[in-house]
Structure formats: structure tokens, C-alpha cells
Amino acid sequence: MSALAHVAQRLRHISLLPEFERALRHMATYDDERPRKNPQWGPVIPTVQQLLGGAYEPIAPFEAAWSLLYAVIVRLDHLQDGDPVDDPLPTVDRAEAQYNLVFGYYVLATGVLDLLSPDQIAVHRILRLRHLWTDMLLRMAGGQQRDLTLRRDTRTDLPLDNYQELAQAKTGATFALAFGGTAILLTDDQRTIDALTLSGEIYGTLLQYRDDLLDAQTQPNPTLTLPVALEIARPDDTVNNTGHTPEAFWAYLYRVYHAQVVQALAGLPADLENGILDLFAGTFERRPVHQRDQA
């Protein structure tokens, strides 16, 4: 069942004001396509589910809720940064109305979790997922708050640590929720849940690092990115004088964090370990299309 179908099911029998329900359905229809357009995060939950050997249907509401949550974050980001969008919010052009609609959309995303059935998943697992959901959402909100308040001209004692905390809170927590939440719903083995949650945190953090390092020119807003944090941390020495490329620094970071994932997964069943490492390889070790074309 698609995210859109879950939305339709959750909105049934609420008697929402018609224009508000239309707006929510309009957004969900557009966002239903996002996972297919984003190979970096679209397949994450089904892949972890398959590796753990559980059935998909019982956890489908979680995947739908997480996909909607991701769409909420994207929409909130655009709204806060004033970015141009190809899917304008279906309401009047006033900030207060737009923020309220995104807030309602977030409530809907969380509400889709109500469709997890205690007939199919033990209640204690659903409760643990709700706890993780709230924990990670609060971390994401904290990361976004820092992003919005700590701009590139802000001076801090440890800019790279500040940036790392921000990246982990914003994007690390998003994927810790995807990996860890799937594990919580499908197993009670705490060792597996811990390892997958940490792997998700690293996966999301690496996505943020890579986007910041390799797509620096396309970052439209003055947010604190990794290259900016590097300049602040090392203003007049090796960063600009060594001749390194962002790609080399990225490769170095990836190697170190990848080793951390290998360590976290050690001792788990080989299929699970190899499958998660394949997921990392598929996302981070594939040569970008423009480089393949030049080769």
C-alpha cells in the first residue's frame, strides 16, 4: 500500500474541513512520488526489512509515515530558506497559513503510525517505535534550530564539532529512525536494533557530509555547510594551500565512517551485515553520472 493509500485510510472519518483535507491530499499525492525520485533514501526501509526477514505489510504504515515525515522536512526547509519549489503549498501566500499547513501535514505523518496493527506487531514494539520517533524528531528539530540560528558568519570555538552535531541531529537522526525503527518493529534483539540505529545515524550523517562537500556550489542558502565549517576552523593554512579536492576529503571521511559501520555490524548474521554494507556501497561508492560520462 502506498503512502497515499495510508493517508486516505487515516483521514477517513475525521470530518476535516474540506479545504484543509484537500490541501493535505494534494501534498500527499505529490510526495507519494518522492521515494522513487530519491534512490538515496527511497529503498532504505524495504531493504532493512528484507534483510531482517520480516514481512513488509505489517510495517508498511511506518514506511509511509517516515516518507511523509521526510516530505515534511523538505517542505519546511524550503519554507524557512525561501527556496523556489516546483510544488507550492496549496494555500494562500502567507507565512502563517503555510506554516500551519506544514504543521498539519506533520501531524498527519505521525498519525499514519496509528495504522500499525497490534494484531500484526507486538504492542511493546509499537510503543518503542513511538518513543524512538519522538526522540529522533526532537533531535531533528534541534538540528534545524541550530541550522537556522548558526549562520556562516557565526564564530564558535569548535566549528567542525558544531557542524558535526548539526549534521547528526538533522540528517543522522532521520536515518537512525528509518534503520532503527524498522529493526524495532521486526526484532526484539537489542544488539541488532543498536547496530542498525547507529548504522542509520552514520548513513544520514554521510549523506549530509557528501552533499555539503560535493555539491557546495549548488547550496543556495547561507547555512553552515561542511566547507564553510572547514574555512572557519582552518582559516589560513592547509585547507586552501594543499591542493586537495573536496572529493579527496570526502573519500577520507567515508573510509573512516565506513570502518565504524563495519565495527557496529560485526557479529550480526552475515547476510544482514553484507546487506547493510551493500546499501552503503550502492549509495556512496557509485561514481556520479557526470564522472561516468567523462570516463
Partner: protein, 76 residues
């Protein structure tokens, strides 16, 4: 209040409860949050990694950096 469940309902409810039961103690959500928080704080520090990277790069002989730079984009 009368119990309106049929014996059939009771059996199927019981089966479901059994199949979803958990063997052994379930850690409290607060306990698992605390452990998670500790583990997520253990990622390698960017400050330390950047110091190591740029120290190493500045000492590299000519030509070596070029080969490192060509690694980029593919991770490792």
C-alpha cells in the same frame, strides 16, 4: 456487561497474543534511549579527522596528492 465474544473470537485472540508475546524482559524505552544516546555520540570527531587529513596532505610528496584526488566521488 455481557461478554459478546464467541468462543471462536477468544481462541483467535489468544493465538494472536501468544504469537506476539515476547520471551524475556523488554528494556524500558527510557533505558534504550539512554543507551542509544551514548552510542550515537561515539562517531569519529570531524575536528580530529580534519586535523589528521590536512596534516597528512601537507606532507605528501608531489604526485601522491594527485592520485588521492582522483579517488574522489567513489568513497574508497
Amino acid at each position: 456487561m455481557d461478554d459478546i465474544r464467541s468462543p471462536q473470537d477468544e481462541t483467535s485472540q489468544g493465538d494472536i497474543a501468544h504469537s506476539l508475546s515476547h520471551d524475556g524482559p523488554v528494556p524500558s524505552t527510557e533505558e534504550t534511549s539512554a543507551r542509544r544516546s551514548d552510542r550515537l555520540a561515539t562517531l569519529p570527531s570531524l575536528t580530529v579527522l580534519a586535523a589528521g587529513f590536512f596534516s597528512a596532505v601537507s606532507l605528501l610528496p608531489d604526485g601522491v596528492l594527485e592520485s588521492i584526488n582522483t579517488m574522489g566521488g567513489r568513497g574508497h
